[in-house]
C-alpha cells in the first residue's frame, strides 16, 4: 500500500502539490489524469523519492520512503520518469540489464538474465537488443525504458506517461502487458496517462488532479462522466458506453 500524507511542494511562490493525501491499496492499476501542469509528475517523483516534498510524508507498506535504504526500496518500487535523456551510449540489452542492478549489483545471475529476456520479449525488443539507444526511434526508446523498469521486478511500478511516442499497437500491447503483470504477479501499477480512454478501459482506479490537488478519485465508471471531466479539463466532453466501457469523445 502506498500512502501519502498532506504532501506540499512549491516552486518559488507557486504551489504545485497542495495537501495531497492518498491511499493506493496493493494490486491493480491506478491511472493519474489531469491537465498539463496539474502536478502529476511532481506527485509521482515525490512518491518515488526522486524529489523531496516541502512537507508531508510518503510510506510504502507502512515504511517511510526517505528512511528506507536505497537498494531495498529499489527492489520494491520501480519508477520511470516522463523524460529520459541519456548521454551514455548503451545498447537496449545493456539498459534493460541495468534494471537488475538493485538485485545483482552488476553481476547478472541466471534469474536476472531471464527477467531481462522476459522484459524485452514483452515489449517486443528482442530484435533490437544490440542496437544503441541513440539509433532507435522515439517509441522504441520508450519501450526500452519501460522494459528496464519491468526488469527490476518490483511489487510497485510507477510510470509517467509510459505511452509517450507509442503507436496504437504498441500502446495497447503495453497496457495489456501491465494488466497481465497485475493479474498474474500481483503487481501494483501507478501511471500517469493523457489518453483517458486507455485509463477508462484498463484502470481499476482513476485519480484526477488539478492545480496541485487531487480533485476526484474512483473507478472508471465514477470518473469518466461528462460532469467530472468538465471539472478536470474545463471543457465539454461527451461520454458513451460501448461494450461495457466508457469512452470520452473530445475530438470534434
Amino acid at each position: 500500500m502506498i500512502e501519502t500524507r498532506a504532501l506540499r511542494k512549491s516552486y518559488g511562490s507557486s504551489l504545485v502539490l497542495d495537501e495531497v493525501s492518498l491511499t493506493l491499496p496493493r494490486g491493480g492499476i491506478t491511472s493519474i489524469i489531469g491537465a498539463n501542469g496539474a502536478g502529476k509528475s511532481t506527485l509521482l517523483s515525490v512518491i518515488s523519492r526522486l524529489l523531496t516534498a516541502d512537507s508531508g510524508a510518503v510510506s510504502i507498506d507502512s515504511q517511510d520512503i526517505f528512511r528506507a535504504a536505497g537498494p531495498e526500496l529499489a527492489r520494491k518500487l520501480a519508477v520511470l520518469r516522463q523524460d529520459n535523456h541519456l548521454n551514455a551510449r548503451l545498447t537496449v540489452k545493456e539498459l534493460v540489464s541495468f534494471g537488475r542492478y538493485p538485485h545483482s549489483k552488476g553481476r547478472l545471475t541466471p534469474a536476472c538474465r531471464e527477467a531481462v529476456n522476459h522484459a524485452m520479449t514483452w515489449l517486443d525488443l528482442t530484435a533490437l537488443s544490440d542496437r544503441f539507444l541513440d539509433q532507435l526511434s522515439g517509441g522504441q526508446r520508450q519501450r526500452a525504458f519501460v522494459a528496464m523498469t519491468l526488469a527490476q521486478e518490483t511489487d510497485y511500478i510507477l510510470l509517467d506517461e509510459p505511452l509517450n511516442n507509442l503507436d496504437m499497437k504498441n500502446a495497447r500491447a503495453m497496457m495489456l502487458t501491465l494488466r497481465q503483470a497485475v493479474q498474474a504477479l500481483q503487481k501494483t501499477v501507478v501511471m500517469v496517462l493523457h489518453d483517458i480512454n486507455f485509463a477508462s478501459v484498463h484502470s481499476d482506479r482513476i485519480i484526477a488532479m488539478k492545480a496541485g490537488r487531487v480533485i476526484h478519485s474512483g473507478t472508471p465508471a465514477q470518473i469518466i462522466t461528462p460532469a467530472i471531466l468538465r471539472d478536470v479539463y474545463d471543457m465539454e466532453i461527451t461520454v458513451q458506453e460501448i461494450d461495457g466501457h466508457r469512452f470520452a469523445f473530445y475530438y470534434g
Binding site: 536505497g70 529499489a74 548503451l90 534494471g99 542492478y101
Partner: protein
C-alpha cells in the same frame, strides 16, 4: 580475441620502445651479459616504457570516468581545472614544504585537484544553459584562472620550469626510482574498472541512478576522487599528456558504447598504445634529439578532437 590482438600490438610497441633511444642496445650484447647495455635497459628503457604504459592507460581511464560521471563527452582532467589545480597544490607544497616526500606532495596535489573539480561542478550548477559545448568552455575558463594563479606564484618563486614540466608530458627524464608512483595511479584506475557498473549507472543521471538504488552523490564523489588522484600522480611524475583522456574514450565510445565494464579494457589498451606510439615517434623523428610525447599528442590529439567535434556525432543533451 580482438582485445587480445590489441594487447599484442601494445606489447610489440613496448618491445620497440625498449630498443629505441640515443644509446644503442643490441640483443646479442644483452645475451652476452654486457653490463652497460643491461644498465641502460634496466635503469632507463624499462622504466620509461612502463611509465608510458601506466600513464597512458590511467589517464585514458580517468578521462572516460570523468566523461561518464559528468555526463559530457568533452571533458577531461585538463579541461575542467583538475590538472591546473593539482599543479597549484604541488606548487604550494614546493614552496611551503620543499623537503616533503613526493607521495605527500602528490596527495596534496590530489586534494587540490578534487577541490578544482568540485569548483568546476559548482560553477556548472549555477549555469542555466547546459549545452554540451558550454561545459568544457566553462572548464577552460576555470583552467585559465587557476593557471594564472599558478604562474603568478611560480614566477615570483622562480619555479616556472617546474610548473612547465607538470603540464607538458615528457618522458625523457624517466629513470628507475622516478616513476613508481604511477603504479598507484594505475591501481586507482583499476578501482574504476571494478566499480564500473556503478559509474555507468551514475552516468544515466541522478534520477535513474536513485531509482535503481544507487547513492548517486557518493558514487560521483568516488569517481571524481579517482580522477583527481590519477591526475595528481601523472602530473607529479611525467607531466600531463594532453588530449589523451579526450580522444581515446571518444573513439572507443563510437565503436563500443559507454558501458564502462566493456569500455575500460579497450580504453586502457588504446591509451597505453597511443602514448607509446607517440613517444617512439618523438624519439625517432629528430634523433638524437627528442620531441616530448606531450607535443606529439598535442598535434595528433587536437586534430582528432576537431574531427570529432565537426562530425558532431552526438546532439546536445
Amino acid at each position: 580475441m580482438r582485445l587480445g590482438l590489441a594487447f599484442l600490438l601494445v606489447a610489440a610497441l613496448a618491445a620497440i620502445s625498449l630498443t629505441v633511444g640515443v644509446s644503442g642496445l643490441s640483443l646479442s650484447r644483452l645475451l652476452a651479459g654486457d653490463g652497460r647495455d643491461w644498465l641502460i635497459l634496466w635503469e632507463s628503457r624499462v622504466p620509461r616504457t612502463l611509465a608510458l604504459l601506466l600513464a597512458g592507460a590511467s589517464m585514458a581511464i580517468a578521462g572516460l570516468l570523468m566523461q561518464i560521471v559528468i555526463r559530457n563527452r568533452f571533458v577531461e582532467p585538463s579541461t575542467t581545472g583538475t590538472v591546473e589545480a593539482a599543479g597549484l597544490g604541488l606548487l604550494v607544497m614546493t614552496l611551503l614544504a620543499p623537503g616533503a616526500p613526493v607521495i605527500v606532495k602528490m596527495a596534496v596535489g590530489a586534494v587540490f585537484a578534487l577541490g578544482g573539480t568540485g569548483l568546476f561542478l559548482l560553477v556548472l550548477r549555477r549555469v542555466p544553459l547546459r549545452d554540451q559545448m558550454i561545459v568544457p568552455l566553462i572548464g577552460i575558463i576555470l583552467t585559465g584562472v587557476l593557471h594564472a594563479a599558478t604562474t603568478f606564484f611560480a614566477y615570483r618563486a622562480d619555479l616556472m620550469q617546474t610548473v612547465l614540466a607538470w603540464t607538458q608530458g615528457d618522458l625523457s627524464g624517466v629513470l628507475r626510482g622516478r616513476y613508481e608512483l604511477l603504479w598507484l595511479g594505475a591501481a586507482m584506475a583499476a578501482v574504476a574498472w571494478i566499480a564500473a557498473d556503478r559509474f555507468t549507472l551514475a552516468g544515466l543521471g541522478r534520477d535513474m541512478a536513485t531509482s535503481l538504488g544507487l547513492a548517486h552523490g557518493r558514487v560521483l564523489a568516488l569517481g571524481l576522487s579517482i580522477v583527481s588522484g590519477v591526475t595528481a600522480v601523472v602530473v607529479v611524475t611525467v607531466g600531463i599528456i594532453p588530449f589523451l583522456g579526450l580522444i581515446v574514450p571518444n573513439l572507443v565510445s563510437l565503436a563500443l558504447g559507454d558501458n564502462m565494464r566493456r569500455a575500460v579494457p579497450w580504453v586502457a589498451v588504446s591509451g597505453a598504445g597511443l602514448v607509446l606510439a607517440c613517444d617512439i615517434l618523438g624519439r625517432i623523428l629528430r634523433a638524437p634529439y627528442e620531441i616530448p610525447v606531450g607535443t606529439i599528442l598535442g598535434v595528433i590529439g587536437s586534430l582528432t578532437f576537431l574531427i570529432l567535434i565537426l562530425k558532431g556525432r552526438r546532439n546536445a543533451a
